[in-house]
């Protein structure tokens, strides 16, 4: 290694701090899973979110299923509200994981390694939450299978013109690929856990899912290739899924929905919200598990920059929507946007603008980017703002459309609210389970980007699992 010849200023910052050796990474990450005693905070959080996910969510869905969609606050102009808002919100959250693991991988962004595992897990859980809503929001949920292109004696097929059907395919593809990608990435680490496991059950369980991984050269070669291929498949999905979701709106005739800017605008928004959610979750996790050396301030800084960039894109889209409406000279278009900013939902619109356009501007300042608690607070604002963005798009466009006679106003019921709360609980609960039972940092990948001296510093050679030979 010739690091000595590079001037200190030009040296890339260390991605793993604290003079860690390879073995230390394994110890730290596996230690979280292997620890005999579960932290108290985890128990409390898992209980609360578990109750929310199992009791609150299910009871509300049960009530909805047995009673009718009327238990929500929907009405005649506003046929979609929190249901589809939540769906788009959760789908958007998922985008950060795929972006980090696929696009950043292809672009050789090595800093992704310490966050990609949890971001991908988050993607999965977000897609699971998202998947709930289209399924339960239909009036006759027991007939929802009509959406599947199942051949039947009636000869009636789904309507392939409908963006809702595109959604079905886009989201199910996305979910499948995300699961595969995440799982393939997990295999070497599962093998590590298997090898380190002390109990029979753990050995068996981790062993089962490690698919007989032995770390041979051929295994690694196949693994790298599979990972690369999956990254290649996932990359267009980052762009396509939210583009398709945006077409639910863009292909309609409704002013406020009917806009060609929607696909890129939605993708940018999705990445924006996804990164914010990753930080919202990882900053506390990093602190609680003492992972500051693996998920460094540099990582936080980088992600804040992504949030800043996508936030600016979103802000641009907001402005451009207004410009288009004004420039079109179309009375219906311009009214919708005037109504958004000054109508009865102005509070929601300005909440959205404040959270999504103003908040990320703080990330121009390095001091703020490097203060994790400030970053956390700002990210929570972004999460709120992005939920409101979907709410604003859906509800404010619907509630006052073409004929003033049919205008209305939407107010959520407690079922609307509790169902959303339940989905948040489900998301958090799944994440809590994930960090307790699976390695939340991709050990094998992190090791691959560790600077040479980390290996050199070793007093004696260690095997790949960090054990002394």
């Amino acid at each position: 290694m010739t690091t000595a010849t590079i001037q200190p200023d030009l040296q890339r910052p260390q991605l793993v701090l604290g003079n860690k050796r390879i073995g230390d990474v394994t110890e730290i990450v596996s230690g979280i899973v292997e620890k005999k005693t579960t932290p108290l905070w985890w128990k409390i959080a898992a209980t609360i979110t578990g109750l929310g996910a199992v009791v609150v969510l299910n009871l509300n869905i049960f009530y909805l299923f047995t009673t009718g969609v009327g238990v929500w606050g929907l009405n005649h102009p506003v046929m979609w509200a929190w249901d589809i808002t939540n769906f788009v919100f959760w789908i958007g959250i998922g985008h950060a994981g795929t972006l980090i693991s696929a696009i950043l991988f292809l672009m050789r962004q090595r800093w992704r390694t310490s966050i990609n595992r949890s971001a991908e897990a988050m993607t999965l859980f977000a897609v699971m939450c998202a998947g709930i809503f289209p399924g339960i929001h239909v009036g006759r949920w027991w007939m929802a299978w009509f959406l599947a292109p199942a051949p039947s004696q009636w000869g009636v097929w789904p309507n392939f013109h409908s963006p809702l059907l595109w959604d079905v395919f886009a989201v199910s593809t996305y979910a499948t690929v995300s699961v595969l990608f995440w799982y393939v990435g997990l295999i070497p680490d599962l093998a590590t856990l298997r090898d380190r496991a002390t109990g029979k059950l753990k050995q068996f369980a981790y062993g089962l899912f490690a698919l007989g991984w032995r770390g041979s050269n051929r295994h690694w070669r196949n693994y790298e290739m599979a990972y690369l291929v999956l990254a290649g498949i996932s990359t267009p999905l980052v762009l396509s899924v939210h583009s398709v979701v945006s077409m639910d709106f863009a292909t309609s005739v409704l002013p406020g929905w009917h806009a060609t800017i929607f696909p890129p605008y939605f993708v940018a928004g999705a990445i924006f919200s996804g990164f914010a959610m990753v930080l919202t979750i990882l900053i506390p996790a990093r602190q609680l598990f003492g992972l500051q050396d693996l998920i460094t301030i540099k990582h936080v800084d980088n992600m804040a920059k992504v949030i800043l960039a996508t936030g600016c894109m979103v802000g641009y889209a907001y402005g451009m929507e207004f410009f288009t409406a004004f420039y079109s000279g179309n009375a219906f278009e311009s009214f919708v946007f005037r109504n958004r900013a000054m109508g009865p939902y102005a509070w929601a619109y300005w909440t959205m603008v404040t959270c999504n356009v103003i908040t990320p501007q703080f990330f121009w300042f390095k001091k703020i980017r490097q203060n994790v608690w400030l970053v956390l607070a700002l990210c929570i604002f972004v999460n709120v703002g992005m939920w409101f963005e979907r709410f604003v798009i859906i509800v404010t466009s619907l509630h006052r459309d073409f004929l003033p006679s049919s205008w209305g106003y939407f107010t959520p019921t407690w079922v609307d609210i509790l169902t959303f709360v339940g989905s948040i609980c489900l998301f958090l609960h799944l994440f809590l389970l994930f960090i307790r039972f699976l390695p939340m940092i991709a050990m094998s990948e992190v090791k691959g980007i560790m600077q040479g001296h980390s290996l050199m510093n070793a007093d004696q050679p260690l095997d790949v699992h960090g054990r002394k030979e």
């Binding site: 009327g70 009036g139 309507n159 013109h161 409908s162 073409f402 003033p404 106003y409």
Partner: protein, 1059 residues
């Protein structure tokens, strides 16, 4: 035939039995039918004997073991399947066996679609007459297997001409109202029918000797020659009998009423007169008025001036509308008369009066001045003098029958002169003038007898109550304002054994006949001068006596009533006036328990399920309230609390209270709806101008939720209305021109709004290959926003009612709604435009491509079809519908109806059950019982009842199109086999064979349905885009709607400016 007493006896026995063992009734019916058809006396007599003994019940149990369960069910829920059958009355199966189970005993004759025999599934139409407050509308009742399901207009009747008003449409639901009175009661105890009949007979005996002294009869206005005949009989045999007719709708009811033939009028001035809706004399008014709009042919368009305190349906069609407080109406008319006589006047309305007078003078005999019934006699007499001055040929007056007034009866009761009071129909304890205190007065009479459809406020105070028969269960007759006589025929045996007024009057006067059928035939013989069976059959078949009209009562004016001055009541912000208006929905309160009417949005306010104090913005400011704030109104020592509702175009310092709400008894639907405004209305207010002034109105600080179907968020209503009206104008949803504008630039209508698209598609559009291409045209110039189409659609298409809570959430289900837009800068020149809006059946329907499951598709005939079975309820179609005409079943409305809610809330209030904490959010549907059997009978069997979770919308009455195709095939001799070989598309229905329910009912023919491609059809010339008035709503979207609108034309008087 068994003789009469025997039949009576068996009826009586059946009723007794029905009280305990309703399910057994059918067996007895069979017995009765058998007894009636054959002299098998021993059989029915033995049944008769047996039912008195408990052993009969035991025998029935043993003989018909299946009855056990039925009896048990009956006890539990009151409505078993068997009860349903019993209620259905005419079971077709039994009819087939020749047993005639509870069919009407006397023959009625089908109208023009007389089938050779009954064909199950085929509707039959019978002529009858709907009478309300003395106004008769000839109707045809559509019956399916013996149950009426829809009311249509009788084209032969002058008040119908094929259409009906909204009330006739809603009257069907009253027949099946589960809250109808079912029992005869004496002091609250259920008694047998024979006891009641004996009571009536004893009255006859008792008062014959006293010549009727001590007997008083208060009845509603049945407009029935047969009733009049019986009253004559009473006057002859018991001349001292005090008889009064009371209709709150008729105001003071002192003067004769007017009958306007507006086809003869060029200039019409309506002063506080809603002649197209609540003051309607019948369709003739509307039809003639609308025909006089003369837009599609040669001739000068008539001009309508309306001066009124609150916008009404009539106000919406006015060419000029003046905000005139009710208290100024008489003075206004006095001034108008003075100007016509060439005198100078001092009036704030001078400009308006001047212009109107000039126009009236120019029109001369072709003028009409109409004064509303709610105006005092003085105003009406002034109107009459103006018509006399103008020698108007359009307005004629007819006398009222020589009867006493309600206050005269009350005087006698208070003087202790009345021993027996008979109350036929009406509901005077609820709606009599407040100063009469009629509720207390009833208690002063030793014996009071009430015949009413419901056990209402009046029944509760009477000694006796007996159920009245609904008009669809009755024999009777009626006379229209022009003297046309029509028949009232029963479609179904009385469901609860109700009495007709004829039977009751006949019994108490010992008329030789008591069977209403016989009485009607007597009356018919008198009028027609013929007792021939053929003449009677023709009368029954056509519904109308052709070739002969009844002589109208001579017009007799009693000028004494106008002696009291002054004509003008002074009003100000401190001394407000109160106007009492009939509700556009529930009329005088008689439809308060009718869920269709409660949910029928008011044409002006769009309010449902409530009344409110209608006031102008200035008035609201003066009081310090907003829409939804409760106010306390004190007037002449009486007071009430009611929610305020700001309506543009209301006269300042004038508050209008719709009547009929705030019922306290008479069913579960009518409870908790609105406030009883009769509580403030006194006789003085009805009799003299300006008496309802000096009201003190103060805010109470409380809020009230008002459920409107437009402006769902009523809080920012004024601001909202401003935005919405500005938007409506900018969007050219409503297009309105003057005749001159249209003449100068025939393309003016087309040029309004967003620039129209080049009508080219980038897609190859699928060809619509059907032989007929259905379309609709809606003429805004003809629409008077009377709501008849809304309720007709509801009745035809089994549209559920959702209740106030759900209307508040914006979930009303009407497939056809009437949008209402205000126009004008300030309150003074506010005009309203109604716009019926339903599925537009777009050729490029935006709802179709977005449905993921192909549940909404296009038919080859151009219908946008909704496949309920396929719909999963994503609701995307509704989101993408620019007209927002799709309706979603948020709950299982047909399972859990509004009724259960109402029952529950009543039970809660009565302390029977604990309050339900979920109420106010949503209803616990899981446990809801099925729809009440009785209400099911009102459903159209040809239309699917939708379940929860599916979308629904206007179908252009596809069931009618298909029925017409079937009928046409058999007409041209094309059997089903041929039809199949040729394919359905080969059948081309000729013009006029089918029309939608809304088009059929429309009394002004504002809705035209037909084949748009048929150049000779009735639709084509209206639908054709070359018609200078035709336009598409939201044309720029290029959805190619199949429903076209015709622009409204206001015949503006240049002297009065724009409006």
């Amino acid at each position: 035939m068994a003789d009469k007493p025997e039949q009576d006896a068996i009826r009586e026995l059946r009723r007794k039995l029905a009280l305990e063992t309703a399910p057994l009734t059918r067996e007895l019916d069979a017995a009765e039918a058998a007894a009636a058809s054959e002299p098998r006396r021993s059989y029915w007599r033995s049944v008769g004997d047996a039912i008195k003994s408990p052993s009969f019940l035991q025998w029935a149990h043993d003989e018909f073991p299946q009855l056990k369960q039925e009896l048990k069910n009956h006890k539990q829920d009151g409505h078993s399947r068997r009860t349903f059958l019993q209620l259905m009355g005419a079971s077709i199966a039994l009819a087939g066996l020749g047993m005639g189970c509870r069919r009407p005993e006397n023959k009625i004759h089908p109208y023009n679609k007389k089938p050779v025999d009954v064909v199950i599934g085929k509707a039959m139409y019978f002529a009858t007459t709907f009478v309300m407050a003395g106004r008769a509308i000839g109707v045809l009742a559509e019956t399916h297997e013996g149950r009426p399901t829809k009311i249509e207009g009788n084209p032969r009747h002058p008040n119908s001409l094929g259409g009906t008003d909204v009330y006739a449409q809603a009257s069907l639901l009253d027949l099946y109202d589960p809250d109808r009175s079912r029992n005869i009661t004496n002091k609250g105890q259920v008694v047998a029918r024979d006891a009641f009949v004996a009571q009536l007979n004893s009255i006859a005996k008792q008062f014959r000797t006293s010549h009727g002294a001590g007997l008083a009869i208060v009845m509603e206005d049945y407009a029935s020659p047969a009733v009049m005949m019986l009253l004559e009989h009473i006057r002859k045999t018991m001349p001292e009998t005090a008889i009064a007719q009371y209709e709150p709708a008729n105001g003071s009811d002192i003067l004769s009423s007017h009958w306007a033939d507006l086809s003869k009028a060029q200039v019409i001035v309506a002063v506080d007169c809603d002649f197209v809706l609540t003051d309607d004399e019948g369709a003739l008014n509307k039809q003639a008025f609308i025909a006089g709009r003369k837009l599609d042919g040669a001739g000068k368009m008539n001009r309508l001036y309306v001066a009124e305190p609150v916008p009404t349906a009539t106000g919406t069609v006015a060419d000029h509308r003046l905000r005139l407080p009710g208290a100024h109406a008489a003075a206004f008319l006095e001034d108008l008369l003075a100007v016509l006589k060439g005198k100078q006047i001092q009036s704030s309305y001078a400009k308006w009066i001047g212009a109107v007078a000039e126009d009236l003078k120019a029109a001369g005999v072709h003028s009409a001045v109409l004064v509303g019934r709610r105006q005092p006699p003085a105003a009406q007499l002034l109107g009459r003098q103006i018509n006399a001055q103008l020698r108007s040929e359009a307005v004629s007056y007819r006398g009222r029958p020589e009867l006493q007034r309600l206050d005269q009866i009350v005087e006698r009761i208070n003087a202790g002169q009345i021993q027996t009071l008979l109350l036929l129909g009406g509901n005077p304890a609820f709606n009599a003038p407040a100063d009469l205190d009629f509720a207390k007065v009833i208690g002063k009479v030793p014996l009071s007898i009430r015949i009413g459809t419901h056990e209402d406020e009046t029944s509760a105070l009477c000694t006796w109550h007996a159920p009245a028969a609904h008009y669809l269960e009755s024999w009777g007759d009626a006379v229209a304002g022009d003297g046309t006589v029509s028949i009232v025929q029963p479609m179904i045996e009385p469901l609860f054994g109700g009495f007709t007024p004829l039977e009751v009057l006949a019994r108490i006067s010992a008329y030789p006949k008591t069977d209403p059928y016989e009485i009607v035939r007597d009356s018919f013989a008198r009028i027609a001068g013929s007792i021939s069976e053929d003449a009677w059959k023709k009368f029954a078949q056509e519904g109308v006596l052709s070739g002969k009209k009844m002589a109208l009562l001579p017009d007799a004016v009693d000028y004494d009533f106008m002696a009291e001055g002054p004509f003008r009541g002074e009003i100000s912000a401190k001394r407000m006036e109160i106007c009492f208006a009939l509700s556009n929905a529930i009329f005088d309160g008689r439809f308060a328990n009718n869920a269709w009417m409660q949910e029928c949005p008011d044409p002006v306010t769009k309010l449902t399920w409530d009344n409110a104090a209608l006031l102008s913005e200035a008035t609201a400011k003066a009081i310090g309230v907003e829409t939804g704030d409760m106010v306390r109104i004190e007037l002449a020592g009486r007071s009430l609390e009611i929610a305020a509702f700001i309506v543009p175009g209301v006269a300042d310092w004038s508050i209008t209270l719709p009547l009929g709400y705030g019922r306290t008894r008479g069913g579960v639907i009518c409870l908790d709806t609105g406030v009883n405004a009769y509580a403030l209305r006194t006789s003085r207010m009805l009799l003299s101008p300006g008496q309802a002034t000096g009201a003190k109105v103060t805010p109470t600080g409380r809020k009230y939720k008002l459920a409107t179907t437009q402006e769902h968020s009523a809080m920012d209503m004024v601001k909202y209305a401003a935005i919405s009206n500005e938007q409506a104008a900018e969007r050219a949803i409503i297009r309105e021109v003057t005749p001159e504008q249209l003449q100068n630039d025939p393309a003016i209508v087309r040029k309004m709004g967003e620039h129209a698209p080049i009508r080219l598609s980038i897609y190859t559009e699928p060809k619509l290959t059907g032989a007929n291409q259905w379309g609709m045209a809606i003429d805004l110039n003809r629409c008077v926003s009377c709501n008849a189409c809304v309720v007709a659609c509801q009745s035809e298409n089994n549209i559920p009612v959702v209740g106030k809570d759900e209307v508040l959430r914006g979930r009303e289900m009407h497939w056809l709604r009437i949008d209402r837009y205000f126009q004008g800068e300030n309150d003074d020149d506010v005009t309203l435009v109604p716009q019926p809006m339903m599925c537009q059946h777009c050729e490029n329907a935006p709802c179709e491509p977005v449905c993921p499951v192909n549940a909404t598709v296009h038919s080859p005939e151009g219908l946008n079809e909704m496949v309920y079975n396929r719909c999963i309820g994503t609701r995307y179609c509704s989101n993408n519908c620019p007209y927002k005409v799709r309706r979603f079943n948020f709950f299982d409305w047909n399972k859990g109806t509004i009724r259960e809610n109402a029952e529950q809330s009543k039970a809660t209030r009565d302390g029977q059950i604990e309050p339900d904490p979920t109420k106010g959010f949503s209803r616990p549907q899981v446990l809801q019982p099925p729809m009440q059997e009785m209400l099911k009978m009102a459903e159209n069997p040809n239309v699917t009842v939708r379940m929860r979770g599916v979308m629904e919308k206007c179908t252009y009455c596809v069931q009618r199109i298909e029925s017409a195709k079937i009928a046409f095939r058999s007409q041209i001799g094309q059997g089903p086999a041929n039809a199949q070989a040729d394919g359905a598309a080969a059948i081309k229905l000729p013009d006029g064979m089918v029309t939608s329910a809304c088009a059929q009912v429309c009394p002004t023919q504002a809705i035209i349905f037909g084949d748009k491609n048929d150049p000779n059809g009735k639709l084509a010339k209206f639908w054709d885009r070359n018609n200078p008035r035709t336009y598409e709503v939201l044309e720029h979207l290029f959805v190619k709607p199949r429903t076209h609108y015709l622009a409204k034309v206001r015949n503006v008087n240049p002297k009065l400016g724009d409006h």
